[in-house]
Symmetry: C2
């Protein structure tokens, strides 16, 4: 199974199993996986000579993906609502055994809150990965499906072990090669991938091109109102399901960032989505329809158009018009996976429409797997954000939000994620998508313990670093919810005005006296898209969370924060602190040298040095930028380059 | 010979020839070309029934590339110092005939001031052109030499007709495919290109990779001190000259922008250049060694390192150490082909070293053949710049400056240069390289007349537009010699802080009160690299040319220019004017609709619209940037976006 990093959270247990297992019950894939897990994690092949019986059984009274674990001195029973529930039960028990939990007193019921726990890969047919920071594609090589079969199976196990049950393998930006995945040319190979993932309870999704009827079907238009287009999609669905009968469905990025879509043809998003939904419905398939629609050709002079308003404006009026097998896939924030932004006002606003909440595990704006950044901390904050006075975002899960989706951070790097500690983000995603009530702290601690062992001298400092990492990264990044002060295109490192005059609608409009965009009802009126309770919160500088202050308000640099600090001094302070924090991380990590496998220790050490250089660059550029603009020095007399 | 644009300045004459030519004298390629020219330009096939005798003769008393044209009522004599001089004489006479000059009174001696009049193509083996804005490569396709033979010959004629006598075909950034041009794999095809250009008196140059001994020769190092490396280059030269006996030599970009070179191996530039020069010397070849060396990984925090100082620092101490067949190729300015920068202090400083003065015809920073920009105007200014109190840059031509080189602006676009009017830049380059005393005004008028005819109603307005175009472009660009306020990488359009925190050493360091870099002896001491006379000129704000003010001085926005205007108001004014000027250009061009072939008229019209959009973007971004920084409004109350 390869090296330390490759095994991720399925490391050989650091503790001994206190018994010899004897397996009984329902023989199925879960049974095999459990036996395989016992052997590969504990070096124990279960057999008839075991002294502790573990039985696997189906319990039709449970939801199909749910399981129970019930142990006593005589033995333990894994019951699943189906073979799939049983599989999750098997992985669940193995993890608890690795964490050293005593079997005799286990009494667990686990059931997923969210039906669809989805990973989107942004992999291109040529093997590159858009926004990928961990090598090449696991799924594609040289223009077509291509993979290392044992690795693919190991990947499926990793994903299944954390409850992920759907994956798209090709980029939402569908190019000609991957467009063909729904044709006779692409399907035979893709069906083989589906075969690998099927036993693990993972169904494939195919990202499709809106213009498929034209570029593949030879039709003159992709207009959803054209009966020939409807027929094209119906035929395509039929063909696809012949090869992959359990396909979860299609994923579509339409009318977004230069891509075609219904709006470009004078149609509405529901018309575009429903025509495909109806093609998929007979086969039980769904269409995931992304809501990332905005004017990517904005004129920076135009101060009335406000990009964060775009998705709500486009989709909210359509609530109730989407077929039941359409899931609108909404990015968590109204901008684009920034370090700090409010939640999308679409979340929870559409009560008649299935929604998928989209996260980004791959660290596009959050350090690109060079910088440490525990995404789970951010997700927990997102779930902890109110939708109304009576509903938190977390409460939407399993209601309007029927899918939780994330862009994958994995590739062919030996350790899957480039930065070894970025494995924590994939792990936490799976478990948090299963149950958003789980805390970042618990999931982080579980991941650290499964990966590095339960020794508190290792577990505590690494967990603490991870849990602090989001705030540290935020400290040295664009301040107070501004976002976008990044180098264009590749999005790593600072460029305070990099996007200021571009067409992407991302402006902070800093002058020598003030900065930020007034998005209140006195400004762009973005706040009006929220429920009254949330609107009031953001509307006032006094109640707006300070970390979002410049997202919602335009303020002078001399504005006083709650602690009496000026806004400018806050910027200086956090940027100096961010670098000091990274230096502290390095000290902590260095101190763990004897407790971490050398290869793993060195690889993280190298990344921390890259992070330090990045943090210093951010600190110096951002501080320099604001010093140049304002002429106001740091109150504490630290070095601000002039 | 194809369409209007394709024929460039070799258009059929708009006027009739007043006689029937009868050709006599020395039968050679010049003779054929002259006859071909008479037929293709005037529709007259010369024959024995002609009524006016034109004789072609060799006159050994003339320099070999020189020619005389002497006419009277009885006939006209073209005399050349060689067959090559005769060829130039033939083209010279054809042009004068097209311009309507009376043959009977012609009495002309033309000889080139500069021996090497060189075009560098930055063409890659895959057919792309670095900084190319006129289609694909004329020389390469799909990883190797590939061309349309008739077109290649037409290109050779175009170049020869303006006196260009050397060309490199592959990019100075040599990649693996084009590195092979000096091997048995590449030479047979390249030799065929040489064959096409040979009769036109044009010799090839090959851009070579400094690491050729390693990547092609299999040696462990490219260290010029290693005898095996010397032997590699000697063998390579021998091989190359077997295929192309008249090769002009090699061209090298070493130790520049991530490319290997002698400095990277602890050697000096003369060691690197001489080892190759000695390999080429037995065959009469030269090495063109580029001086574009600077720290491209500068830390923006470092205010002592000043990129414009780099080339002089590197090369000046080596004066006298270069072999006689080394030509140091120096970009005209110390930055990088910016719209406005002073001349390189290297020019004329090295009295013991051959120098090539490098221009850029391709409009990398000057509008990318979307915006109108007559490069000749800039070149004339460059030649008009003093080197000492007793020597202008122009005076160096034919002395230290033995080559004038330019990066080509041509490609497979039907009209060669993308923007039809950009043909004027190629034309002017050839003629100005031949004789730098020629004025931009004369060359522009000649080009317009050859291209569009001598009708003053056409010639005057187009010439005026062209002659004004540099200043118009400069008006809406980065002001006062700052340069570099461009979008990164592609270099089109404004980005005021695009390069401000990057590693390229290009900073204006604008704050809310002041801008510019003090490069005087009180600052980075760049001015100390100039002769005392020039140094004094730039050293003082009072004597420094105002258009270069912010290149040499750091000044407050409230600084008063000679006309009493503040620096900031100058920026506002010029940026508003630039757009108005482009609008005026459009009006002028529109008025010529009936006088220009429709296809040509439309194509220029479209480019002018692109230019207008670009000028507006520059105006609004630059004005907005400075308004945000300073908070000082335009005195005239025009719209500055805030």
């Amino acid at each position: 199974m390869g090296s330390f990093g490759y095994r991720a959270w399925l490391q050989p247990a650091k503790t001994q199993l206190g018994f010899l297992p004897k397996l009984t019950g329902h023989r199925c894939f879960a049974f095999e996986e459990f036996a395989y897990g016992l052997e590969s994690l504990f070096g124990k092949k279960p057999g008839d000579d075991g002294d502790y019986a573990i039985s696997l059984e189906i319990d039709k009274g449970l939801p199909w993906e749910a399981y129970t674990l019930r142990g006593d001195l005589a033995g333990l029973r894994i019951a699943g609502g189906s073979e799939k529930g049983l599989l999750y039960g098997a992985y669940g028990l193995l993890a608890r055994l690795c964490l050293g939990e005593p079997v005799e007193t286990l009494n667990i019921l686990e059931k997923p809150t969210v039906a669809h726990r989805v990973l989107n890969h942004w992999d291109n047919a040529d093997g590159t990965i858009e926004r990928g920071y961990a090598g090449k594609s696991i799924f594609f090589q040289g223009g077509r499906i291509g993979y290392d079969l044992p690795r693919l199976k190991d990947y499926a196990r990793l994903l299944a072990s954390i409850g992920i049950n759907e994956i798209s393998v090709n980029n939402v930006n569908v190019y000609p090669d991957s467009a063909k995945l729904i044709t006779e040319e692409g399907l035979p190979d893709l069906a083989k991938v589906a075969e690998v993932f099927r036993p693990f309870g993972i169904r494939l999704i195919i990202s499709v091109h809106f213009d498929s009827p034209v570029i593949l079907g030879g039709l003159p238009t992709a207009d959803p109102a054209d009966p020939a287009v409807a027929k094209y999609w119906a035929d395509a669905a039929k063909r696809v399901y012949q090869y992959i009968p359990d396909l979860a469905g299609f994923l579509m990025k339409a009318d977004s960032e230069f891509r075609s879509g219904p709006a470009a043809l004078g149609r509405t998003q529901d018309e575009g989505a429903n025509i495909i939904a109806r093609a998929l419905a007979p086969f039980g398939g769904r269409i995931y329809w992304r809501c990332f629609i905005y004017n990517c050709k904005q004129d920076w002079r135009d101060t009335t158009t406000d990009r964060p308003k775009a998705a709500y404006n486009e989709f909210f009026p359509l609530d109730g018009k989407f077929d039941d097998n359409v899931i609108l896939q909404v990015k968590h924030g109204p901008s684009d996976f920034q370090v700090r932004e409010p939640n999308s006002p679409l979340l929870g606003a559409m009560t008649q429409t299935h929604q998928g909440l989209e996260f980004q595990i791959t660290q596009e704006y959050t350090g690109q797997q060079k910088d440490l950044y525990a995404t789970a901390v951010q997700w927990e904050e997102i779930f902890d954000t109110p939708v109304t006075d009576a509903c938190m975002t977390r409460d939407l899960a399993g209601r309007e939000v029927t899918a939780i989706v994330a862009v994958a951070n994995t590739g062919t790097d030996a350790n899957w994620t480039g930065h070894l500690l970025a494995q924590a983000n994939l792990y936490a995603f799976g478990r948090m998508a299963w149950n958003p009530a789980q805390t970042a702290e618990q999931l982080t601690r579980d991941w650290v313990a499964l990966t590095f062992g339960t020794d508190p001298a290792v577990k505590e400092p690494i967990s603490a670093m991870l849990l602090e990492s989001r705030w540290v990264y935020e400290k040295y990044n664009a301040p107070l919810g501004l976002g976008w002060m990044v180098n264009i295109n590749h999005h790593y490192g600072p460029s305070p005005e990099g996007y200021e005059y571009m067409k992407w609608g991302t402006y902070h409009r800093a002058t020598h006296t003030a900065i930020g965009v007034d998005r209140t009802t006195h400004g762009t009126e973005f706040t009006a898209q929220y429920h009254q309770y949330v609107r009031d919160l953001y509307e006032s500088k006094k109640t707006c969370p300070e970390k979002l202050l410049l997202f919602f308000h335009r303020l002078p640099y001399t504005y006083k924060l709650k602690n009496g600090q000026t806004l400018l001094q806050y910027i200086y302070d956090t940027h100096f602190e961010g670098v000091e924090d990274v230096q502290r991380f390095i000290t902590i990590w260095d101190s763990l040298q004897d407790k971490i496998p050398p290869e793993a220790h060195t690889s993280v050490q190298e990344r921390l040095q890259l992070q330090l250089a990045n943090a210093q660059e951010w600190r110096d550029v951002i501080n320099n930028y604001f010093y140049r603009l304002t002429g106001i020095p740091d109150e504490k007399g630290r070095k601000v380059y002039g």
